[in-house]
C-alpha cells in the first residue's frame, strides 16, 4: 500500500481500464491536451491519443448524446462534465435517453457508459457551480449513482462503473480531490462492488449514513461527539446511492436504534428523505427514535464564505443534528 490523492486514484482507474479494454474512451471539455480542468485526466491524451481522449466544444447535450450512441453500439464512453451542475444542459440525453434505453427497448440495447465529474460546495463557486447532484440523479430509474469518499473506493468503484453495462454517474466532490488515502500498487486490480455500503466507523449510539465529502465531515463530527459528549456514532459510507445497500444500514440500526442520513444535495426529496421513508417501510421496528435526515436547506449556495459555511450540512450542522436526536443520551 501507498498513499495517493483522490485525483490520482481516479486517474489510475481510467488509465488501467483504458489499457485493459480498447472500447473505453474519454470525452469532454479540456480532458485531452490540457488533462482536465482539475487535472484528473492528465497524461491520458499522451498515452491513448486523440481518438480515445477527445476534446469537445462546449456542447454537453451533443457529446452526452454521442456517448450514448457509442455505448449503444458497444463502446464504453466515459464522459467528463467539467462541473456536475452542467448535467442540466444535457438532462434529456441522460435521463430520457441513456437511462431509459434498456427498458424502452425491452432489453435489446445496453448503454454502458460513465458520466463523471466534480460537484459540491466549500470553494465559493456559487449557485451555478456548487450543486450536489446525487439526489437529482437518484430519482430516475435506469442509472446507477456512485459517490465515493476515499481514494480506495474511488478507484475500485470507478473500475466497477466502467465495467458495468448501464449508465453510471460517478460523482467526485471538489473538496475530496487533494485528500489522500491508501491504495494498492498501480496495476494491482482493485474492484469495489457497486451497491455495497461500508462501515467507516463503528459506534453504538446512532447510525449516521452519508457518502462523498460529507462523510469525512461526519467522521470528524463523530470524533468530536465522542470526545465532547461521549456519544458513539457509527458512520456508514453508502458509496452507492443507487442501488442502495439498505441491508448494511438496517444491520447498523439494529445495533444503534437511531438513524440519521446526511448529504449535501437538497433536503427536499433528497436521498435522506428516501432512506427515512425506506426504513419505515421495511424495518420500522429497528428504530428507538424517529429517523432523521439532514440535507441542504432550501437555498442555492451563495458565494460569500460566511453564508456558504452557514448553509453546508457539514460538521457543525451534523453535530447539532446528532445532539438533537440524542438529547436524552447527551443530557
Amino acid at each position: 500500500m501507498r498513499t495517493t490523492t483522490f485525483i490520482q486514484a481516479i486517474n489510475e482507474a481510467l488509465k488501467e481500464e483504458m489499457r485493459r479494454d480498447e472500447s473505453v474512451f474519454l470525452i469532454g471539455e479540456d480532458v485531452g491536451r490540457y488533462g482536465g480542468l482539475f487535472r484528473v485526466t492528465r497524461n491520458l491524451f499522451e498515452e491513448f491519443g486523440e481518438d480515445r481522449v477527445i476534446d469537445t466544444p462546449i456542447s454537453e447535450q451533443g457529446f452526452m448524446g454521442m456517448a450514448t450512441g457509442a455505448a449503444i453500439v458497444g463502446m464504453r464512453p466515459i464522459v467528463e462534465l467539467m462541473y456536475m451542475d452542467f448535467f442540466l444542459v444535457c438532462a434529456d440525453q441522460i435521463f430520457n435517453q441513456a437511462a431509459k434505453m434498456h427498458y424502452m427497448t425491452g432489453g435489446l440495447v445496453n448503454v454502458p457508459m460513465v458520466i463523471r465529474g466534480q460537484h459540491g460546495g466549500g470553494k465559493r463557486y456559487g449557485s451555478q457551480h456548487s450543486q450536489c447532484v446525487e439526489s437529482a440523479f437518484a430519482q430516475w430509474p435506469g442509472i446507477k449513482v456512485l459517490a465515493p469518499s476515499t481514494p480506495y473506493d474511488a478507484k475500485g468503484l470507478l473500475v466497477s462503473a466502467i465495467r458495468d453495462n448501464n449508465p453510471v454517474v460517478f460523482i467526485e466532490h471538489k473538496m475530496l480531490y487533494f485528500t489522500r488515502g491508501e491504495l494498492p500498487e498501480a496495476g494491482e486490480e482493485l474492484i469495489v462492488p457497486i451497491g455495497k455500503a461500508d462501515v467507516k466507523r463503528e459506534g453504538k449510539d446512532l447510525t449516521l449514513v452519508s457518502f462523498s465529502y460529507t462523510l469525512l465531515e461526519a467522521l470528524e463530527a463523530a470524533e468530536e461527539l465522542q470526545a465532547e459528549y461521549g456519544i458513539d456514532v457509527e458512520v456508514v459510507d453508502l458509496r452507492s446511492i443507487v442501488p442502495l445497500d439498505t441491508e448494511t444500514i438496517y444491520t447498523s440500526v439494529e445495533k444503534t436504534g437511531r438513524l440519521l442520513a446526511v448529504h449535501e444535495s437538497q433536503s427536499n426529496c433528497g436521498i435522506g428523505s428516501e432512506i427515512v421513508a425506506r426504513i419505515y417501510e421495511e424495518a420500522p421496528h429497528l428504530l428507538k427514535a424517529p429517523a432523521r435526515r439532514l440535507g441542504m436547506a432550501p437555498a442555492s449556495l451563495p458565494v460569500s464564505q460566511k453564508l456558504e459555511e452557514e448553509l453546508l450540512p457539514w460538521k457543525k450542522n451534523i453535530k447539532a443534528a446528532v445532539l438533537e436526536m440524542l438529547q436524552p443520551v447527551a443530557a
Binding site: S59, G62, F63, M64, G65, G69, M104, T105, G106, V109
Partner: protein, 339 residues
C-alpha cells in the same frame, strides 16, 4: 438529365442538382413492393388506432415511403440508423417483420420490444436499426456517436440519422453538426422535410429558407432533393455513403416530401386544406414510382399482383399481432438495469 423538380418547394440552386440513379426494372419492382408494404402497414395501423386498439401517439409515414426504400437500397445492411417517432418506414424498409412491428404497436408480447417501446421506439439492432426516438432531435447525436464508434474501431460502417424539418431548431442538432463536421465522422444527416412540424408549417417559425443551406454554415456537404422519387433518394444516399466511407465526413440531405396523413392518429388536420393534400397526391412516391415503372415497360397486372400479395401479408400480420398475448405483468419490472 437533372431531376424534374416536381416538389413545389425545391430551390433551384445549381449546386443542389443530383443525377438520379437509373435502376433496373427488377430493382424498381422490388422497391415498389417495399413501398406498398409500408403504405399498407401504416394504413392498417391507422385503422387499428381508430378502433381504439392503439393508445398514445402513433405517427405514420404515409408519403415518406420513397425516402425509406431509397435509403435502404443505398446502404449496407449493417450501417447504423436512428430515426424519429415517425419511423415505421425505415424499419420495414430495412427488413423488420411486419408481424412483430404491429404487435409492438399494439403493446403485445410478440412485439420486438415486448410491448414496452411501441410506435415511437422502433428498433432492431440486428438490422442496424439502433433506435427511434420520441424526443425531437435526440436520436441525432446518437447516430453521430455510432459514427464515432465506427471511426475509432475502423469498422467502415457508416451511420444515417433521420429527422424532420421541425427538428432543425433543437439545439442539440447544431452541437452535433459541428462536432461531426469537425471530426469528419462517417454520417449522413437526412432531413425528411414534409413541410409541417406538428400543426405548424415550417416557414412560420424558421428563419432559414432552404434548410440544406443551413448545414453549409459548418462547411458540410449538403444537398436538397426530391424525396418523392426513389431513384433520386437512392442516388443521393449512395453519394453521401461513398463520401462517408471515403473519410470525407458528413453529408446533409434535405429530402423534400409531404406527409399525406395527419401528424398522428387522430389528427383532425384543421391546419391545412384538403385541396393542398389532394394536389400533393399527384406526385407522391408511390404514384411517381408506379408511373415510372409503367413508362419503362412494366405491366399493370404485375403491379396489381404485388399489391394483392402485400394486402394479404399485412392482413395476416395484423391478425397475428391481435392474437399475440399481452406481456406478462412481471415484465413491467424487468429491463430496468442490464446485467
Amino acid at each position: 438529365m437533372p431531376i424534374s423538380v416536381e416538389a413545389d418547394i425545391l430551390s433551384s440552386r445549381a449546386d443542389t442538382v443530383i443525377e438520379p440513379a437509373v435502376l433496373s426494372n427488377e430493382t424498381l419492382t422490388k422497391m415498389y413492393r417495399d413501398m406498398v408494404l409500408i403504405r399498407r402497414v401504416e394504413e392498417s395501423l391507422l385503422e387499428l388506432a381508430e378502433s381504439g386498439k392503439i393508445g398514445g401517439a402513433m405517427h405514420t409515414a404515409i408519403g415518406h415511403e420513397g425516402t425509406a426504400v431509397g435509403m435502404a437500397a443505398a446502404l449496407q445492411p449493417d450501417d447504423y440508423l436512428t430515426c424519429t417517432y415517425r419511423g415505421h418506414h425505415h424499419s420495414l424498409a430495412r427488413g423488420m417483420d411486419p408481424k412483430r412491428a404491429i404487435a409492438e404497436v399494439l403493446g403485445k408480447a410478440d412485439g420486438f420490444a415486448k410491448g414496452k417501446g411501441g410506435s415511437m421506439h422502433f428498433l432492431d439492432p440486428s438490422l442496424g436499426l439502433m433506435g427511434a426516438n420520441g424526443i425531437v432531435g435526440a436520436q441525432v447525436p446518437h447516430a453521430a456517436g455510432m459514427a464515432l464508434a465506427s471511426k475509432i474501431r475502423g469498422e467502415g460502417r457508416i451511420a444515417i440519422t433521420f429527422f424532420g424539418d421541425g427538428a432543425l431548431y433543437q439545439g442539440v442538432m447544431h452541437e452535433t453538426f459541428n462536432m461531426s463536421q469537425r471530426w469528419l465522422l462517417p454520417i449522413i444527416f437526412y432531413c425528411e422535410n414534409n413541410r409541417y412540424s406538428e400543426m405548424t408549417p415550417i416557414g412560420r417559425t424558421s428563419s432559414v429558407r432552404d434548410i440544406y443551406m443551413f448545414a453549409r454554415a459548418y462547411g458540410m456537404h449538403s444537398l436538397q432533393i426530391d424525396a418523392n422519387d426513389v431513384e433520386v433518394v437512392y442516388a443521393a444516399v449512395t453519394q453521401a455513403a461513398e463520401r462517408a466511407r471515403a473519410g470525407d465526413g458528413p453529408t446533409f440531405i434535405e429530402g423534400i416530401t409531404y406527409r399525406l396523413a395527419g401528424h398522428m392518429a387522430g389528427d383532425l388536420e384543421t391546419y391545412r386544406s384538403p385541396d393542398e393534400i389532394e394536389a400533393q397526391r399527384a406526385h407522391e412516391p408511390l404514384v411517381v414510382l408506379q408511373r415510372r415503372l409503367l413508362d419503362r415497360g412494366a405491366d399493370e397486372k404485375t403491379l396489381a399482383e404485388i399489391r394483392a400479395e402485400v394486402e394479404a401479408e399485412v392482413a395476416e400480420a395484423v391478425e397475428f399481432a391481435q392474437n399475440s398475448p399481452w406481456p406478462h405483468p412481471a415484465e413491467t419490472y424487468t429491463d430496468v438495469f442490464a446485467l
